[in-house]
Structures are given as structure tokens and as C-alpha cells.
Symmetry: C2
Subunit: 292 residues, 2 copies
DNA sequence: GTTCCGCATGAATCGATAG
DNA sequence: ACTATCGATTCATGCGGAA
């Protein structure tokens, strides 16, 4: 496989044409935001953003397995005092292209960019749009479970007999069944809000999102050995996370400088044995502890 | 003024026709979500939601002052495994109606509805769409400043789990002392994410959002004596917050039961002197401390 | 007066079953 | 086939009574 664990130079819409269809398990990417990175990407005008994106997402859809997921990290910028609608337009356009808009996760940033504006506050969240090709897709919810809240310690430490028998009485009350299910339970499922810090000053590369972000979705939507694609790979954070978790990766970028940066960053990565990598779930969950 | 501090029965699109134009300073409302409250409201089909909403928002626009704000609390539901697009469509339609989509705030819910599904996690956030008629509008950012600085945040987040669990009281008490020192010293502006709990067990009235939510926007966008409108007033939380903060209110609902409920709830409210109400900022900010 | 503990209550969603 | 109803699942919070 010549496309496994590589960082390739070029427009992802072109490069991906050489990739066989249904070969990717997860696409996680943060495309250049409209007009945001003018220097490096040439700057796509907000009004042209959807038109620019659609040919690429068509290739994404071709190479993604039917059971795969496409996670898009994006946020609309302010234009003339208003939030521009290109992200909304993009969601609608992607649905017209055949994608299912399965969910919208939120990245709640712990430390957002500083600043003050007269008509708004600091922007402290970004969208993580989850698209799929099919209503059925691979998902491993147990991989991202988080420690149970403090309430459990007090409530479940000593259960009375009635608690364990309570089975028939209430129909509508939340815990109507039996609380004994909760005894010894240490972990619960997270929600669709991720509370993570931004990566501030990682000396060499300036990633736009913390490594925990792709980590979370890679663990949620793939197994070890699966292929993760980032078509706008930038400084390589997604590929770094994939490698670290024992997944294969493919990164693409049109800026040569980023290719070198990614290579450099990935060269030092120690690939963990899958079983060990999975255990790492604990660490990641600490970071997402506010997620609930 | 016969529309000041009243709760009126009827369809807001009709009732508002009798209100003079440019008379409202803030509209804060949480309309019935599509199909969600079928038993109390009629239950609007997602596909018909925009069509149902637009005539009403046209009246909102007429009665709102040019300097006013319209804050819409809404969240799309899942239909056939997908997020439905009626909220996106509504945003676009409101812009066509002449509204400016100035900002999208996020309500990050502390306690979201429980449940487990095979393809998604619990939904823990809702949208707070901020529309205005003009690029220039009234905003009082100082009213919602947060007293906690970065020093405190780091201090808190650096506490180990065992510290927080075992010595919770110690930590809290010691911390409390310090807090008193910070009050009035260092304040920072919040972000566009509000981290609040839902009010679930308020036995008499089941509000769909906590009172802190309208409070925050009322303080941000109005002065004492201004008029706050909630055209889907429900259990009256918005009017309660307005009254409490020394603002005038107008509530409208099509369900008679809610009118009575609001009246009952508002009858016992003690109106605070504006200056005192503003001091209350500290208390409210505590609730929003995660907002940063 | 505190603290502790039981308990009901959520703008939910999916899959299966019934009409 | 297509819609309507129902059971199962899940977690944080505030209230009120008890210790």
C-alpha cells in the first residue's frame, strides 16, 4: 500500500483521485477557514467557500468506507459584523451531495484567543460536524468513557435493600428500574461537548487544535490498524494522533512547508502497541472530564 | 402603557400586531422545538417549522427597537438518525427577512438528558442565536464580567482529583476566603459559551432553561427600565428574570395554563433596586464561572 | 443549624411492535 | 410501506425529610 502512513503534497481533490474507493475509515480534518490563513493558503473568499469545498468532499465520499465517518472541524468567521453563513451553506450542500449530517459536536475551548470587541465576546467554541455515508457506521463508544461524577460516590456507596428491589413501582422515574446497576460503575459515557484546551505554544508547529481532539474521534470511530485521512494535514496533528494510537494515517497538504513539518514531527513518534494505546484512554478522559 | 409588565394570552404573531413598532429592547425566547412539546403546544413538524416561524419573527422585527437584540434559544432534534436542518434553514430565512445573524452563543448544559444510543452521545448543548436589526446595537459588556482571573482558573484546574474529593471542604473554604479578596479587583470578560445547569426539579414549574440564561442576556443587552419581550413565555422564566433585574417585561403564550403559571410565579417577585440588581452580577457570574 | 440521604425529574433517542 | 406508540437506556441536580 503506497498510501499508508504517508504525507503527500498536493491538492487533496487531485491526490485522492489515485486512492481506491472505500479505503478510508475516518476522515478528520480542519480545513483552512475562509480568508483566515491568507498567507499560506491563498485565502478562500467566504462567498466562494462552498464551491471550493464540494469537489474535494466528493472525493472524500468516494474514498471513505460506507461504515466510516467524516469529522469536520470548522467555525464561521465574522464578516461585516455578522457571522457568515458559509458553514451553514456547506452543511446543506454536503447533504445534497449525499452525506448524512449525523451529529454536531462542540469543542468548548478552555483557553480561547484573547481580545475584546465592542459587539461580541471571545469566541470560545468550534463546530465538529460529523458526517457519515450511511445510517449504520462504526462507533466504539466504550473507548471514550469518562470517570463517573462525584454524585455517585455519595449516592451509591451504600444502597438500601429497597433500592435493589425497586423494580415494579415507578414507570416514569429515571432510576425506576434498579439502582444496583450502578454499583461499582466507575465510568460513564461522555456527551457531545468536548471541553479541551487549545494548544498554545508548541515551540515549532502551531496546530490549530489540540492532539486530544483527533485522538478522541479516532478512538471513537476506528480500531487499531484502520486508516485515518487528513486531507488538510497542516502541522500533522491528526496523523500524529493516529500513529500514536496504532492506526494508519494518510496526510495531504498543498503547502510544501507543512509536509516537511509533518514528516519531522512524525519521525520521532513511538508507535504504541494497540493494547497499550487503548489503555491510554484513561489519560485522555481526564482531559475531557468537564465533558458532562 | 397597557403592555408593560403583562402576560398575555394568544398567538404572539397576532398579539404583537397591537404593539407599537420600535418599542422593545430585547426579545429573549425559547420557542417550542419542532414536535417536541406535542402535548402542550400543537407540535410543529420539522419540515414546516420555518414556515410556522417566519410570520411571527416579522412581528418581532417590527416591535424591536433598531438598537435592540433578539436572542433565540433553540436546538434541532434528530430525525431518522440525522440532525434535522430546520434550525439552519431558519437562520438563513431570518437573514432573508432582514435580520443580521450577529453571533451564536452556546449553552453548555451541565446536566443533560440521560440516555444511551448506538450512534450518538447525550446532547449537552443548545444554540443561543443572537440577531439584530442593525450593526449598531446596545450592549453592556461590563454587566456580565467574571471576577475570576486566570490565576484562579489555573489554580483550580491544577488541583488533583484526590484534593478535590477528599478535602473538598477545606479547599472550598480556603478558596472562598481568597475569592472575597478578588471581588472588585480583577474582572474579565466572559466568552460566548455559557456553562449552566438545567432546572429539572422545580416542582411547580418546569422551566426549560435556568433563570441565569435570560438574566445573562438581559444584563448584557438592556438597562434597568428597558422592555423585555418573551413571545413564547412558557413558565415565565424570562419575565421573572426581567422583573428581578428591574426591567419591564411582556410575556405572551398561546397556552392558557402557562399564563396562570407565569402570573403566579411573578406575583411573589421582589423587584430589586437597579443598583442592587447590578451588584448581583457577582452572584450570576459565579454560576457562569466555567464560562472561560 | 448542618450534613446526609432518598428520590423525582428532565426540549432525548432508538428499535421494536402495533395499527 | 408508513406512521404511532411504547419500553429501555442514562446521569446530574435540587428538594425535602432524617440523622
Amino acid at each position: 500500500m503506497e498510501y499508508i502512513n504517508k504525507i503527500l503534497l498536493g491538492d487533496c481533490g487531485d491526490v485522492l483521485k489515485n486512492l481506491p474507493e472505500n479505503s478510508v475509515d475516518l476522515i478528520f480534518t480542519s480545513p483552512p477557514y475562509a480568508d483566515q490563513r491568507k498567507n499560506t493558503y491563498g485565502g478562500i473568499h467566504p462567498d466562494d467557500y462552498v464551491e471550493w469545498f464540494l469537489p474535494k468532499s466528493l472525493e472524500f465520499k468516494r474514498v471513505l468506507k460506507p461504515t466510516g465517518s467524516f469529522v469536520l472541524n470548522i467555525k464561521e468567521r465574522v464578516v461585516a459584523g455578522e457571522r457568515h453563513t458559509y458553514v451553514l451553506d456547506l452543511i446543506l450542500a454536503l447533504r445534497s451531495q449525499g452525506w448524512l449530517w449525523t451529529e454536531e459536536y462542540i469543542w468548548h475551548k478552555k483557553n480561547s484567543f484573547p481580545g475584546k470587541w465592542p459587539n461580541r465576546f471571545r469566541d470560545s467554541w468550534e463546530r465538529l460536524l460529523h458526517f457519515t455515508k450511511d445510517k449504520k457506521f462504526k462507533i466504539y463508544q466504550e473507548n471514550v468513557m469518562i470517570p463517573i461524577g462525584d454524585w455517585a460516590k455519595d449516592r451509591l456507596s451504600n444502597l438500601s435493600d429497597t433500592d435493589q428491589i425497586r423494580d415494579e413501582s415507578k414507570v416514569n422515574s429515571g432510576f425506576g428500574k434498579n439502582i444496583s446497576n450502578w454499583v461499582g460503575r466507575k465510568k460513564v459515557y461522555p456527551t457531545n461537548v468536548l471541553y479541551l484546551a487549545t494548544e498554545c505554544s508548541n515551540k515549532n508547529h502551531s496546530a490549530v487544535f489540540p492532539v486530544e481532539l483527533p485522538e478522541w474521534f479516532i478512538k471513537l470511530f476506528t480500531e487499531p490498524g484502520d486508516l485515518v485521512l487528513d486531507p488538510f494535514v497542516g502541522s500533522g496533528t491528526t496523523c500524529f494522533a493516529a500513529m500514536e494510537l496504532g492506526r494508519n494515517y494518510l496526510g495531504i497538504d498543498i503547502v510544501e512547508e507543512y509536509i516537511d513539518l509533518s514528516h519531522e514531527r512524525l519521525s520521532g513518534v513511538q508507535i504504541r502497541i494497540p493494547s497499550v494505546a487503548e489503555k491510554k484512554g484513561d489519560y485522555s478522559n481526564e482531559r475531557v472530564e468537564k465533558n458532562g
